[in-house]
């Protein structure tokens, strides 16, 4: 099998530009890989072989003609199945949208119009979950141990990049859904500042928190994908109308004088010793490279999880009201009146976790409870933001764990929703405050499972994260999974 698939996007971009390889050759190699390893991993809900190869040939032809192409043109990627792809089924891993073929592209897909789409990556149903176990279709396995979950909700995207079943991937992050699977699968995952990437065409879960971002093999690739997908979009009223930066300028390797804070609440109770040790090791590496590293405090951290689940469920219950069986998606059979269509379609179309969140969201928004729960959570949201603002007066970047533990076994946290929700303890506050944050691999635990460290930036401090991450990466051990007894 071709070794091309083990290369990074920036290496492949150079080879493509020098015409040493073709996109068709690379895309074919990628599908060969998928054929070999997908039976162990189940990263994809659907594959798009013909479409991807057609795109690859188109890019090769344009390159031969000397047409101007984007930097990542011809490099194949996996796309989370809640991002609308014109003409390619987009299910959100739900029975409710099992047959939905979007008549339009999400804006990010238009921005990645030179990208061969390998397929649509598995996820938790409607992105609600931390393990990808709530998918209606299949359970994605962690490439480092197929008896364990890949994290979630973008588990398919994380596993695909980790297992070399895609050069890069897109996911979405509402409370950690890019960073946590990236951490558990040993790859880089980046959640940009809220508003930096258009949400147009991303199936909405919690609109004030959702953000699309990349999964990549390293920080350099992450900067390249961010360069492609960031930018203003008139189709998304929350999209920021600001000039776009070139994130590769942050690939300096120099963190001298950078102020890095390690919030003590993030390495306290509930975080495993091995994860804590890796965060402290990363802090020491930063110090050795000349950064100023200090312990700091984010005292509102213990309240972020409760605020997050109230706010995100409220927004979800509102966003998911649109699934009524009338205009698209699943409709239950044998209904005699319209009310029955609504009730039966929704009851048969949604899974347990989605129903639980709709019910919780309906509760916190319902008359008599709105002030006591929803509004209170929004007030605490203000306190969490102020807490970060105050801390960022002193620091450029914060360093924390991404996940309090490494990948767990299937079913281990499924019995109690609160136990599953606690997996997001280190990530949700970032979405609440709209901040950028990345997870990057930093070694393994004693069982050989990847540990990720999280770098958190100030609003629009995305480039600071790239700068710090690029410098730290040099000191991170290279890890790659063994799948079916081979690399």
């Amino acid at each position: 099998m071709s070794e091309l698939i083990f290369k990074t996007a920036h290496e492949l971009a150079d080879l493509l530009e020098k015409k040493e390889i073709s996109s068709e050759e690379l895309t074919n190699a990628q599908f060969e890989r998928i054929e070999k390893t997908e039976k162990y991993i189940d990263a994809y809900i659907s594959l798009n072989k013909e479409g991807a190869l057609n795109k690859a040939r188109e890019i090769d032809r344009k390159r031969a003609e000397g047409q101007k192409l984007s930097h990542l043109a011809g490099i194949p990627a996996a796309i989370k199945d809640n991002i609308c792809t014109k003409g390619i089924t987009t299910t959100c891993a739900s029975k409710m949208l099992y047959n939905f073929v979007p008549p339009y592209n999400a804006s990010v897909m238009d921005r990645l119009s030179d990208t061969p789409i390998l397929g649509k990556a598995n996820m938790d149903e409607f992105a609600m979950g931390s393990s990808t176990e709530t998918s209606y279709f299949k359970k994605t396995k962690n490439p480092f141990d197929t008896g364990r979950i890949p994290g979630g909700s973008s588990g398919g995207s994380g596993a695909a990049v980790s297992a070399s079943e895609a050069i890069f991937a897109l996911g979405s992050d509402t409370g950690g859904s890019i960073r946590q699977p990236a951490s558990l699968c040993g790859v880089v995952g980046f959640k940009p500042t809220y508003g930096l990437v258009s949400r147009y065409g991303l199936v909405a879960f919690a609109s004030s928190l959702d953000q699309i971002g990349p999964f990549t093999k390293d920080i350099h690739d992450c900067a390249l994908v961010l360069n492609e997908i960031c930018g203003h979009d008139e189709h998304d009223s929350t999209s920021l109308d600001i000039p776009t930066a070139d994130f590769t300028k942050a690939l300096t390797g120099d963190v001298k004088g950078m102020k890095i804070g390690v919030p003590k609440e993030y390495i306290g109770e509930g975080v495993s010793d091995e994860v804590r040790e890796k965060v402290l090791e990363a802090a020491r590496e930063f110090e050795k490279m000349g950064a100023e590293v200090d312990e700091c405090s984010l005292s509102m951290m213990p309240y972020s999880l409760a605020a997050y689940y109230l706010i995100s469920s409220a927004e979800a219950s509102s966003n998911l009201a649109r699934y009524d069986g009338i205009r698209y998606g699943f409709r239950a059979d044998g209904c005699t009146d319209v009310d029955e269509v609504f009730f039966k379609t929704r009851s048969e179309g949604f899974g347990d976790e989605v129903k639980r969140r709709i019910m919780l969201g309906t509760f916190v928004l319902s008359s008599g409870y709105y002030d006591a729960y929803y509004k209170k959570a929004q007030k605490v949201r203000t306190l969490i933001r102020e807490d970060f603002n105050k801390t960022f007066e002193k620091y450029d970047v914060l360093l924390a764990p991404t996940s309090p533990c490494t990948a767990w076994k299937f079913g281990e946290k499924s019995a109690d929703p609160l136990e599953m929700y606690a997996a997001d303890i280190c990530t949700v506050s970032i979405n609440i405050a709209g901040l950028p944050a990345a997870s990057m691999p930093f070694g393994v635990d004693k069982g050989g499972l990847p540990i990720g460290v999280q770098l958190i930036g100030k609003p629009l401090g995305d480039a600071d994260i790239i700068r710090a991450g690029y410098a730290l990466e040099v000191h991170a051990p290279k890890i790659s999974p063994e799948i079916g007894g081979a690399r």
Binding site: E234, C335, D337, V341, F342, N431
Partner: protein, 95 residues
């Protein structure tokens, strides 16, 4: 506080969900636990704080009202569970 089975039934109706008896019992228990967990917010000094609805609070993003091509009806109807003569078909709604 705890949530009752009767409240769960009321919420299910608001959310247009039909729940089995098992689901009702499970959701009553699970939602009570989650709501109890949310009481933690009472430990904060939130009273005089203004709520944040959004991370970047922009209001009224205006644009010119220009006529632009939109989707063809046939493209939109492609995803309809049931359609006829350019319309979505639903069970009869008026007697």
């Amino acid at each position: 506080m705890s949530i009752t089975k009767k409240e769960v039934e009321h919420l299910a109706n608001l959310a247009r969900l039909t729940l089995s008896d098992d689901e009702k019992a499970r959701l009553t228990r699970e939602m009570s636990n989650i709501i109890d967990f949310a009481q933690k917010l009472d430990e904060t000094d939130y009273d005089s704080v203004k709520p944040t609805m959004h991370a970047n609070a922009k209001t009224n993003v205006f644009r010119e009202d220009e006529i632009k091509p939109s989707f063809k009806a046939s493209e939109i109807l492609q995803n309809a569970p049931q359609q006829d003569e350019g319309c979505f078909v639903v069970p009869r709604t008026v007697e």
